[in-house]
């Protein structure tokens, strides 16, 4: 779905939203069949899933907590897509955002400084891919996959070596108490608010600023962008840098805003995988910041609900992953919407 620049928030096209909703519904139905096939009660499974995700303030807080990092990495991917780049480097920038938070809040225990350094390092890690793309024509799929791996091992080295916690080597040194993000309640920090603001700002940047116009134009048609006096090379640079910055912010907030440890675990277990998850979130959110907010919350729900679903309906995690996979696949079918619409029309006639 193409978004128009002049579209205001109130006149947002609801079709993609409805499309995704239908897809999700169909995914749940197929998932129910899978559950039945393996002898689980889909009704109770889904009941507990939603109970866990939305049935209590605590559930909602967890949902939002899960939604936060993937919202930011999804924005990275979406900015890339909107500017014609298949940027899968969110993962790497996320690691650097996280380690930057750990390192720099321990230099100066100031929250804003930590966030800023997270964004900075996240952006810096995106820089090589940007430079290689612009000056050497290196396809971003190669550079970002390679940089993700390189960044991964580099950060692993940092956390097991120089920044291991001397009193508890299973994690890095912790974020000082003063530099942690304030908690709203139920373990949910203001990270979610910052993430939503970031999404809105991204929307504003892409659709309401000169720079964003240039980035989008360059993404669709470089020749036309050049003709219009824009600078496609800089647009590519900015796309990578802003993308990296957002993922870096995500990484920093993951550590600064989420207990209990406020540190990176050895093996990077609590910073791994968010970049990849973000791709799915972005796509289900149709690469639109508003869509991404909703879709990140949806994915957060699926994650938050699994605990009760396992505990009460005894559905193993693997089956839950299968259902998530099916939902994501159904989201890819755009004509689902038309099919359903046709069916409704036929029913009405």
């Amino acid at each position: 779905m193409k978004k128009s620049g002049s579209e205001s928030l109130k006149s947002i096209n609801l079709r993609p939203f409805v499309e995704s909703l239908i897809a999700i519904l169909v995914g749940f139905i197929i998932g129910a069949l899978v559950l039945l096939a393996f002898g689980y009660n889909p009704w109770s499974a889904y009941y507990w899933l939603f109970q866990g995700a939305l049935g209590s303030t605590y559930g909602i807080a967890s949902t939002l907590k899960y939604a936060t990092p993937i919202m930011l990495t999804a924005l990275t991917f979406a900015i890339g897509t909107r500017t014609g780049i298949f940027n899968i480097g969110a993962e790497g920038s996320f690691y650097f955002g996280a380690i930057a938070a750990v390192i720099f809040t321990n230099v100066w225990d100031n929250m804003l400084f930590g966030l800023a350094m997270g964004m900075l390092l996240g952006a810096l890690w995106a820089l090589p891919a940007a430079v290689l793309k612009v000056y050497r024509g290196v396809h971003e799929v190669i550079s970002t996959i390679m940089l993700n791996w390189i960044g991964w091992f580099f950060v692993l080295w940092l956390i097991v070596g120089p920044y291991a916690n001397p009193s508890d080597p299973n994690k890095t040194i912790r974020i000082p108490v003063d530099a942690r993000l304030p908690i709203i309640g139920y373990g949910l920090s203001i990270a979610i608010v910052i993430a939503v603001v970031a999404a809105v700002l991204t929307y504003f940047l892409l659709w309401h600023t000169t720079m964003g116009f240039g980035m989008r134009a360059s993404g669709i048609n470089q020749k036309a962008a050049r003709y219009a006096g824009m600078n496609p090379k800089m647009a590519v640079m900015w796309s990578f840098l802003i993308g990296g910055l957002l993922s870096g912010l995500g990484g920093a907030m993951k550590i600064m805003g989420e207990g209990p440890s406020y540190a990176i675990s050895q093996g990077g277990a609590n910073i791994y995988g968010f970049g990849f998850d973000g791709i799915g979130v972005a796509l289900v959110g149709r690469n639109h910041p508003v869509g991404i907010i909703l879709s990140a919350i949806f994915f957060g729900m699926l994650r938050a609900g699994t605990a009760l679903m396992q505990a009460q309906a005894h559905v193993p995690l693997e089956i839950i992953k299968v259902i998530q996979g099916i939902i994501v696949i159904t989201v890819a079918i755009p004509s689902l919407y038309d099919l359903v619409k046709k069916a409704i029309h036929r029913g009405a006639a």
Binding site: S62, N170, R303, Q310, K321
Partner: protein, 387 residues
């Protein structure tokens, strides 16, 4: 597993796995073993929660604690330490047990720790003596990601190898050196990586390889198996040494023994204590002395094998080319006979000394610690580090 919640049992226990989940060939699997046995023995419902990522720990623990129906909630893995601390504070009436996590001061939390360094020392002694006996000068260890918990394994192994050098010298009157080739593969789930690492170590002369790498370690077994194959041998040496559970059954003939970490015993004990009202918070440390770690015996392997479902056992026997359980047992025993009895006796001797506290094995917790162990020339030097 049955959906719904019929309460025909005397209560329930819950277990939260860490991200490795069931099938990690490590503490999760062992914890399951203990928990399921306890559930059966005490007629309890067992609820299992897997974790998608580290972020799920608090959520999983809290969800269970809020249900207020579990006799004890078992958290598997050191990574859950902070999560357990937090949730235990929120739910002081709920009993928790954590495997590998150090929580010394809460009444409702039992921390079950293992002295992997002691068990690994036996593995190292075994490896070192096999190498020395065959006139080889290198043994290997393939580890997973470089995380400090693995330093204990590496240090123990090194200690054992150095001890073996010394022992051999005293026994045969010959100076031998056995070097330890080590590498962290950066992954716990990529068997191909483990295979490549083991291949490289074998090419560089490793005669016995200890794997401490979860799924990656499966590739170590495969690589050693291939070397045997290429020499037309069914049994080593070269050998591999398994870890965490009695893994010998995975590839009989290839795996001489495994360094067992009896998470199952720890879990079982925690449940038993809770059922019988003997649950006490604090640290429970299980070493060689407490049978919490140790080298696998054939009996251990058979017990592990017996814990598999019946038809899996039959299939497994068929796959391995055995007609009966007894044949497998015989085969495992034959495998061990490839190593002279005196070596087994020597390992026992070391075990005795560690158990009685005559010998102490270092357990470094960080890079500096392991660095010091790597630099130590003798086991005595290492023992200094353990103090």
């Amino acid at each position: 597993i049955s959906p719904g919640g019929e309460e025909s049992t005397k209560g329930a226990i819950a277990i939260v796995y860490d991200v490795g989940g069931r099938g990690d060939l490590s503490f999760n699997d062992m914890a399951y073993l203990g928990a399921s046995k306890a559930a059966k023995d005490f007629n309890l419902d067992l609820v299992e929660l897997q974790s998608n990522s580290e972020d799920d720990y608090v959520k999983n623990l809290e969800t269970l604690a809020a249900q207020k129906k579990y006799l004890v909630i078992i958290a598997v893995g050191f990574m859950m330490t902070d999560a357990v601390k937090q949730v235990a504070d929120e739910y002081p009436d709920q009993k928790f047990a954590i495997i590998d996590g150090y929580i010394p001061d809460k009444d409702n939390v039992m921390s079950i720790l293992f002295k992997e360094n002691e068990g690994s020392a036996l593995a190292g002694a075994l490896a070192g003596l096999i190498a020395a006996n065959d006139g080889k000068d290198k043994v290997g260890i393939v580890l997973g990601m470089e995380i400090p918990v693995l330093y204990k394994f590496e240090a123990g192994y090194r200690f054992g190898v150095k001890w073996a050098e010394d022992y051999y010298k005293q026994k045969e009157g010959k100076d031998v050196t056995v070097d330890v080739i080590y590498q962290y593969t950066g992954s716990f789930g990529d068997a191909a990586k483990g295979k490549a690492a083991a291949r490289a170590q074998l090419a560089q002369g490793a005669w016995v390889i200890y794997q401490v790498a979860g799924g990656t370690g499966l590739g170590v077994f495969d690589a050693v198996g291939e070397v045997l194959d290429s020499q037309g041998k069914k049994m080593g040496p070269p050998f591999a040494i398994g870890v965490d559970s009695a893994q010998d059954w995975i590839k009989p003939g290839v795996i001489i023994a495994s360094m067992m970490k009896r998470v199952d015993v720890g879990v079982y004990t925690a449940v038993k204590d809770a059922v019988e009202g003997n649950f006490k918070g604090g640290i429970v440390e299980l070493g060689l002395k407490e049978d919490g770690v140790g080298l696998s015996t054939v009996d251990d392997v058979m017990a592990m094998f017996d814990s598999l479902p019946e038809d899996t056992q039959q299939q497994k026997l068929k796959d391995l080319g055995f007609n009966s359980r007894d044949e497998l047992r015989q085969y495992l025993e034959d495998t061990r006979k490839q190593v002279p009895d005196w070596i087994w006796d020597a390992v026992k001797e070391l075990q005795g000394k560690i158990t009685t506290g005559v010998i102490k094995v270092p357990a470094p917790m960080d890079q500096d610690g392991i660095g010091a162990v790597r630099n130590a020339k003798t086991w005595q030097e290492m023992m200094e580090l353990a103090k």
